[in-house]
Symmetry: C2
């Protein structure tokens, strides 16, 4: 019922996270019927994407590559006010942005890009461990915070990293896992509650 | 925290229906980190959009304009098996597609593109009434089905159309409004229930 060009666009948008065929069709019809300049703006920006945005050569975060300076560094790696003594290892750029929003991390980052996952066939050799060692040798942080998610894959990766980096004689820490802020104990799952109790902190005495 | 190019893309995606800044950011990070070819495919297709897809010159539905035949007609207007005696007036292409999915309309369509809306400053002069009259003179249908939505603007538009087309001496009908299929009377709003009762049909006797 729709022209072939529109159907191809629908299929492309349906590859976006959380977008099904129906939502993708809404997007495409919006592009054709409501905002003619939006499609052209998107075509332009998406075409530039690969030449303008590259992973930061130090940490793997997204960096502006349009200034043609080498090495390509992200805004965090370029920021001299960052605490060079703390390096936070995250799985994905999205996690880095979430931690930045919290304002609780003043150090720099290292983005793994993936987690160990036996089910998806991701083994230790698939992780950028050589790049991580290189980064640690360069940056010489006194603490490495492992901020992989508290999932099965995230915990396995954290264990591997702790073993891998243990020989370097630096302090290795892991983000806390427990009942989230505003969360109700009644509705917390068993593993979360178990972790909250195991990770309990002394308040007084 | 993100390069300027990515922020511009986030703002463009945030103009999509139902997409906020957060979802737009997820889209963009997905494009950069997961599927490199997706951005290029989208850039390509979006760039072609305006030259390949045009409104059908007869009904306003989306039509394939790449074949360079004139006039540009959609698949429904080109389909000779359609019932030329029935013309269905809809507000948007999305509504046309929804009616097509129902399989209940065998005629052709006319897409208004907008509804009367005093609040948004859309008056009778903003509706494509001249084009509609032209279409009716050409197609000579025996029935016009007004399928604007049963909202305030949709009803106002239906009334205007009924008055406007009344002099033509054709049968003008309006889609039924009532409790939806599978809907619970207990949870139906007053207006819907009122319409369901006003529009009641005789079953026997």
């Amino acid at each position: 019922l729709l022209p072939e060009t529109l159907l191809r666009l629908v299929h492309l948008f349906a590859r976006f996270p959380g977008v099904g065929e129906k939502t993708a069709q809404r997007f495409v019809l919006h592009l054709v019927t409501s905002e003619e300049d939006l499609a052209e703006g998107l075509a332009h920006e998406l075409g530039l994407l690969r030449s303008r945005v590259r992973p930061c050569e130090q940490c793997g975060h997204m960096a502006d590559a349009s200034e043609a300076v080498s090495p390509i560094l992200c805004s965090i790696c370029r920021d001299s006010k960052r605490d060079g003594r703390v390096l936070c290892i995250v799985a994905r750029v999205q996690d880095l942005l979430a931690i930045e929003r919290s304002g609780a991390m003043r150090g720099r980052y290292f983005v793994l890009g993936k987690l160990l996952s036996p089910l998806e066939g991701v083994g230790p050799d698939d992780l950028p461990l050589a790049a991580l060692h290189h980064r640690l040798s360069e940056a010489q942080p006194s603490e490495v915070v492992i901020a992989t998610p508290p999932s099965v894959d995230g915990e396995a990766t954290a264990l591997l990293l702790a073993r891998e980096l243990g020989q370097r004689g630096i302090r290795i820490t892991r983000i806390a896992s427990g009942v989230p802020h505003g969360g109700d104990l009644e509705f917390a799952d068993q593993i979360t509650l178990g972790r909250a109790i195991e990770g309990r902190k002394q308040l007084t005495g």
